[in-house]
């Protein structure tokens, strides 16, 4: 089997598991909408339209990052609980294919959550422009790439779910900067470039180093 076929099979496995169990995505959907409702009570009423646009844009990115963390804590749950990871590591495929497949399935989960989150945000706060949608799409790649690697690291630790947000948040700061910039700035192009750069750098590192995380 070629590398891409391996990745396709592994991605299909993740999506199928989610389709049968329906654990992660519904939780992410409910969480992101709840978070947005909570955030409504954070923004004081009577702000000028411009201020409200900037403030709520920042809150959208908080919601996205927190929802991503929620999804990522479950990313390697099946592998860990059922001892699946040992089998995957012993399978005759490149280990980085496991990472790529996990990244793709996390992107898929994030997209599903955002299909609900962005209209909800537009409904509760202000309209969403094309730059924001582009930034969200770019950010998904970075979040999923780094997140899959860190989720595998956290899954190997004793504290697991507790550790992942601690590992992930410092690395998510550049994503938030890029995202908020693209949402709020008049000229979003350089923030989008920055997000693309982040994706490229961290995707390459995560792809190259995943093998060392899963092998015993």
């Amino acid at each position: 089997m070629t590398y891409l076929q391996d990745v396709a099979v592994l991605t299909r496995k993740d999506l199928l598991l989610e389709l049968r169990a329906r654990e992660t995505v519904p939780a992410m959907l409910l969480f992101v909408v709840s978070a947005l409702v909570v955030f409504h009570f954070v923004v004081p009423s009577g702000l000028s339209e411009e201020t409200e646009r900037i403030v709520s844009g920042g809150l959208l990115w908080v919601a996205i990052v927190l929802t991503a963390i929620l999804g990522l804590t479950r990313a390697f749950a099946a592998e860990r609980d059922e001892g699946l990871l040992d089998g995957l590591v012993m399978a005759p495929c490149d280990r980085s294919a496991i990472w790529l497949a996990k990244t793709l399935s996390v992107i898929a989960f994030l997209l599903l959550a955002e299909i609900i989150a962005l209209p909800a945000f537009a409904l509760f706060f202000t309209s969403v422009d094309a730059a924001t949608v582009g930034a969200v799409l770019l950010a998904n790649v970075g979040i999923a790439a780094v997140g899959s690697l860190l989720a595998a690291i956290a899954a190997a630790s004793r504290t697991r779910e507790l550790l992942l947000p601690l590992l992930f948040l410092p690395l998510a700061i550049p994503i938030v900067v890029g995202g908020v910039g693209a949402t709020a700035a008049d000229d979003p192009s350089r923030y989008l470039w920055f997000l693309g750069l982040y994706d490229a750098i961290f995707a390459i590192i995560s792809w190259a180093s995943f093998e060392y995380v899963v092998t015993e």
Binding site: V146, L149, I153, A156, S157, R158, T159, L162, L163, L166, L167, L169, P170, L171, I173, P174, V177, G178, V180, G181, A184, A185, R190, Y191, F194, L197, Y198, I201, F202, I205, S209, Y212, V213, T215, E216
Partner: protein, 219 residues
């Protein structure tokens, strides 16, 4: 030897900073903390880079000793990072009257790095010692050294958005020869000090490990 050189250089540097360097225009006396703050910050970067280099060697060669070396270097880097935060905070207080300023890139970057490397220690404590932990912490240490330039870029980008008026502190421009000389002496001093601490810590940790192995063999 390294420790002695570090102490001598640092004392000379501080004396030079206080008695030899002329007053900086506009900044006055308080500018002299520059000769501690910036060398300490650069030393912290050097420690993190050294830790990441050892982490890379670990993944490459799979030799156990690199793990301890990488860990000790990151440990030293974190200590110097905290010193950077403290000295930077004092400088911000004397310059702008506040203990914390989001306008200071170096400080914000070190805060992010501090959080990152605290998570590194949490990771190490949450995994059983062994080859698995060595590799997990090596991968995370490598991510850290990439995070430094990326975060620096991010802070610059965020600054232009959040702070339309950027604080300027023109000490880095046009250093006179006496300023540059003092700065280099101080930098050499902190680097020697970090190197000496690194060696002591490493020796201590190695002894600790040998003692543990000896105990296990005896038990």
């Amino acid at each position: 030897m390294l420790a002695l050189a570090g102490v001598v250089l640092l004392v000379t540097g501080v004396v030079m900073a206080f008695y030899w360097v002329p007053m900086a225009p506009g900044e006055g006396f308080r500018q002299r903390i520059f000769y501690i703050h910036v060398p300490v910050a650069l030393t912290a970067y050097a420690c993190f880079a050294w830790g990441a280099w050892k982490a890379l060697r670990l993944l490459w060669k799979r030799e156990e000793r690199y793990d301890l070396e990488s860990y000790t270097a990151v440990h030293m880097g974190t200590i110097f990072g905290v010193l950077t935060l403290v000295t930077g905070s004092i400088w911000a207080r004397t310059s702008w009257g506040v203990w914390w300023s989001w306008g200071d890139r170096q400080l914000v970057l070190f805060l992010i790095l501090f959080l990152f490397y605290c998570a590194y220690f949490m990771l190490r404590y949450a995994v059983e010692p062994g080859p698995r932990r060595e590799r997990l912490s090596a991968v995370y240490a490598l991510l850290g050294v990439v995070l430094i330039p990326v975060s620096f870029l991010a802070i610059r980008l965020a600054e232009s958005l959040i702070h339309p008026t950027v604080f300027t502190r023109d000490v880095n421009e046009n250093l006179t020869s006496s300023q540059l000389g003092t700065f280099i002496v101080c930098l050499a001093g902190t680097l020697c000090l970090a190197g000496a601490l690194y060696k002591i810590e490493l020796t201590g940790k190695r002894l600790d490990r040998q003692l543990r192995e000896l105990r296990r063999a005896l038990a």
